[in-house]
């Protein structure tokens, strides 16, 4: 392992204290990316600093940073969450942009107050799509259609103003029971389709 330059170590010491000028810090950070020995030096100084400050520390296994780095080799951290005021700023910027464009839009008509819309150049207006006439419609329009029947052609039967149900059959209880008795044969096929066990259970 080659020895680290003392100047670099002094920069690291000052950076650790947050006292390194920005230009030197950028240089040092580039070195730190690729210089493991420099990062290990940083670790020992941090440990000594914690002891000097009286912070409780526990000496961890020397390979812990390597294990963590290996575990994170294919992990991507979450993207920084957008702050709410950033969304508000984006909305405000869009509003300002729209307001800035508004005079220009109004100036189009304000410059020519008498110019009707129809006199605008044709190139400005979108051309209507050209539809070729369907051959069978164009060839023979056929006989004229007869007019549709009117509602008056179907007069309502006068049932004395009775509401729904209009059939008087169900209003009489005896006729209603008779209708049910006569209609019972419609249910017989459904009854016969039930399994015997279910029928027995139903009779018990």
């Amino acid at each position: 392992m080659t020895a680290i330059q003392p100047q670099l170590l002094e920069q690291l010491s000052a950076w650790m204290d947050g006292e390194l000028p920005a230009d030197e810090a950028r240089f040092l950070q580039r070195r730190l990316r690729n210089d493991v020995a420099l990062r290990e030096q940083w670790e020992r100084w941090q440990l000594a600093s914690a002891f000097l400050k009286g912070e409780p520390v526990r000496a961890m296994a020397g390979d812990l940073p390597w294990r963590i780095a290996a575990a994170l080799s294919d992990v991507v951290p979450l993207a920084p969450a957008r702050r709410p005021h950033m969304a508000w700023l984006a909305s405000a910027a869009a509003l300002v942009f729209a307001v800035a464009l508004l005079p220009g839009i109004l100036a189009v008509d304000a410059g020519r107050p008498d110019a009707p819309l129809a006199s605008l150049p044709e190139a400005a207006a979108p051309a209507p799509p050209r539809v070729s006439p369907t051959p069978y419609l164009a060839a023979d329009p056929g006989p004229p259609m007869s007019p549709l029947p009117s509602v008056r052609d179907f007069p309502l039967v006068d049932r004395g103003g009775r509401g729904w149900p209009r059939l008087p059959l169900l209003a009489d209880p005896r006729q209603r029971d008779g209708l049910l008795v006569r209609s019972e044969h419609l249910l017989l096929p459904l009854r016969d389709a039930e399994p015997p066990a279910a029928r027995q259970a139903g009779t018990e």
Partner: protein
């Protein structure tokens, strides 16, 4: 730029895709996070794994960190939650009472968070503490004063320069030389620790 700002810069670099910046954060905080985790999971091998998992979770969630709190406080909470989840997963009951991040490291209350460190680790820690304090005590006066004002009192270089009546560049050099002297004594201990399982 203070320590918090330095952390924030490193976090921004990680968010921009620089994994070596996260390695620096790991190397800076692994021993402190390891101490916190060990109070919940008092087993050397298990606490190493949980500490590793805590850093992995922190990395995955780093996009949520907006700098509203200190990075260490945020990391601490992840470590505590990871340790508690681990205890639940292995059918051990986590401590009922939560602890504030600022108090956790110094927490010595009754219950489950006692330090059950092994005699080997206690010996190692005592040895490191003694080495650091002995080395600082043996430093020349101006180096000792500079490193103490910086590390213990948390003074800026400008303040130290005013107090020691010397240029800021001299302060920077003295602090660096003091660290070098400490590191020369500390490195053999750390290298021994590295080969230990």
């Amino acid at each position: 730029m203070g320590d918090d700002q330095l952390d924030l810069d490193l976090v921004k670099r990680v968010q921009a895709g620089d994994k070596s910046a996260f390695d620096l954060l790991v190397r800076k905080y692994q021993h402190r996070i390891g101490a916190v985790v060990y109070r919940f999971v008092p087993d050397h091998a298990e606490s190493q794994d949980v500490t590793q998992e805590a850093f992995i979770r922190a990395y995955r969630a780093l996009g949520n960190f907006r700098g509203d709190s200190q990075f260490y406080t945020w990391l601490y909470r992840i470590a505590v939650n990871t340790a508690k989840n681990y205890l639940v997963a292995v059918k051990r009951r986590p401590p009922m009472a939560d602890i504030a991040a600022e108090d956790a490291e110094h927490y010595a209350g009754a219950g489950r968070l006692h330090d059950h460190d092994t005699p080997e680790h206690q010996l190692l820690r005592q040895e490191i503490e003694r080495t650091v304090s002995d080395t600082v005590a043996a430093l020349p006066g101006e180096l000792r004063q500079a490193i103490t004002l910086r590390e213990v009192d948390g003074r800026s270089y400008e303040e130290i320069a005013q107090m020691m009546q010397c240029p800021i560049g001299t302060v920077r050099s003295r602090i660096f030389r003091a660290r070098e002297a400490i590191d020369r004594q500390l490195r053999p201990l750390m290298d021994n620790e590295r080969v230990r399982p």
